[in-house]
């Protein structure tokens, strides 16, 4: 199942943004970047800034300045691990970590995400896996992801060891009543109107 199938099956076609990314972030994830004072604290505490092409503070500054969807080509949001040190350190309480998630989402929606970055492919493979069976079968995920791991054929050792220890298995779990990829649609699992407890 390809990534395109996953995204179209979740009814989110690719689109072009008609407003600034900052406005989309506010709408989609409730993050407001306007208060940013450009203090740089988020960049300073970010543990993976060394692997980013644009530091978090600069990204937020550009968003505040009205950046359009061309800001979504950066790899920075994908390297972000959502550790929330940025949000914790922001003196004006901008949820920078949530903004990063929003940027990932928008980059994917507008097809601006760096296609050659293994992280992007990893997330696609992960969601494909969940769409199929509702649970994660690690070996299956690794198989989907194999092209991003250079030389995987020549390094079977780690996987063999994990198989031997029972940390990986050939059989994956699956949900009994899994409806397939459509379970990832918005509203697919919303409670019925007549359900009493309505959890």
């Amino acid at each position: 199942m390809s990534a395109a199938q996953v995204s179209s099956s979740s009814a989110e076609a690719r689109r072009t943004l008609e407003v600034t990314v900052a406005e989309e972030l506010l709408r989609l994830r409730g993050v407001d970047v306007e208060p940013c004072t450009e203090c740089g604290a988020c960049s300073e505490v970010c543990p993976v800034v060394f692997a980013m092409d644009v530091a978090p503070a600069e990204l937020i500054t550009r968003l505040k300045g009205g950046a359009g969807q061309d800001v979504l080509v950066h790899v920075s949001p994908w390297v972000c691990t959502d550790c929330r040190r940025c949000s914790e350190s922001c003196p004006v309480d901008i949820d920078v970590a949530r903004a990063m998630e929003g940027l990932r989402l928008l980059a994917h929606q507008t097809a601006q995400a760096p296609a050659d970055d293994p992280i992007v492919r990893f997330h696609e493979a992960f969601l494909e896996e969940i769409a199929q069976r509702g649970r994660l079968h690690e070996l299956s995920l690794l198989w989907r992801f194999r092209h991003q791991v250079p030389g995987w054929r020549s390094r079977p050792g780690l996987i063999m060891m994990l198989l031997g220890k029972g940390k990986l298995s050939f059989r994956g779990g699956r949900c009994r009543r899994w409806p397939g990829p459509k379970a990832l649609h918005t509203g697919a699992n919303a409670p019925e109107p007549d359900e009493g407890e309505g959890r």
Binding site: R104, Q148, E197
Partner: protein, 306 residues
């Protein structure tokens, strides 16, 4: 292990994956849809939902928040993190009273990871005593209480809330190794002998790559990593726990051997050789303080548990 502590757990029927990091990244609705399917399967009379993985805990909280649930109504579901349940005062008191193998003098550091040390805003209404408070700080939280209750010595260090790399451990290994290197360096600086974690992904990352990171750091890293409930099971003497110890990539067996040697002032194998050979008469071992009578046979039986 939960049974040993009188904690009743019922597995959520036909649960599905919360979506991890990937759902939020690639789909506007998948995170909520996956969470809603899980919520539909929670029995109406379930008092609480334990989420052993901090990320799942967060995903559930976000699903509940977006569905408009608050902690005001009686039908609201209370989420519990693994620390909330297993590091509560009540459970720790039971652990103390049933403890069989206090891990005396073992220097351990508590690794909370990201989600429980800097929770997402949606978690706020569910947050229990498990999450370290800002006032008390990382080194004085629930994990340290658990370490003490197991008889070990909690040691202060700087990396208790540092990021393990999360999915980068698979997707961008070199970045994860850098992060792991910083964590191990902090543990080495603190002279920690073991790490205890509360997140399955953190556990995987910390356990899996010590050899590779040793090469990067230029010094050996061999610090066994325990999951919270695993450590408690060892302290309680739960029988299956010895099987789990063999599944670690960074084996805790040498640590336990050293620990037993230090406790008993002798070589682990000694002249008798490894267990399984003829059980000779042995002098009684200086048993750790335990309220329950030892029902094991000669020393070999006890050692083979490790």
């Amino acid at each position: 292990m939960a049974e040993a502590l009188d904690v009743e757990l019922v597995e959520l029927a036909d649960w599905n994956c919360c979506g991890g990091v990937s759902a939020g990244a690639l789909s506007q609705g998948a995170l909520e849809a996956l969470g809603q399917r899980n919520l539909k399967q929670v029995p109406a009379d379930a008092p609480e939902l334990l989420c052993p993985c901090p990320h799942c805990y967060t995903s559930f909280a976000r699903t509940l928040a977006s569905a408009g649930e608050t902690d005001a109504g009686p039908s609201a579901l209370r989420l519990r993190s693994i620390l909330d349940v297993f590091a509560s005062e009540e459970v720790l008191a039971r652990l103390l009273s049933k403890r069989v193998e206090p891990l005396t003098d073992l220097r351990m550091v508590g690794y909370y990871g990201c989600k429980l040390s800097r929770p997402d805003p949606e978690v706020a209404s569910h947050r229990g005593e498990g999450v370290p408070s800002e006032a008390a700080g990382i080194n004085a939280g629930a994990l340290e209480r658990v370490i003490e209750a197991c008889g070990a010595t909690p040691v202060e260090w700087s990396a208790g809330g540092d990021c393990c790399g999360s999915a980068l451990g698979v997707a961008r290994v070199e970045v994860a190794e850098e992060l792991l290197g910083r964590i191990y360096q902090s543990a080495l600086d603190a002279e920690a002998e073991a790490i205890v974690t509360v997140c399955p992904l953190c556990h995987l990352n910390l356990d899996l790559r010590q050899y590779q990171v040793s090469q990067r750091l230029g010094r050996g890293v061999d610090i066994p990593v325990f999951f919270l409930t695993e450590l408690m099971a060892v302290a309680l003497g739960v029988e299956e726990s010895e099987d789990w110890l063999e599944r670690h990539v960074t084996s805790p067996l040498p640590l336990f051997m050293r620990f037993i040697e230090a406790q008993e002032g002798r070589e682990y194998w000694g002249e008798e050789g490894p267990p399984g050979e003829a059980a000779d008469e042995k002098a009684p071992v200086a048993a750790p303080t335990a309220e329950e009578p030892r029902t094991d046979g000669p020393e070999e039986d006890r050692h083979s548990r490790c």
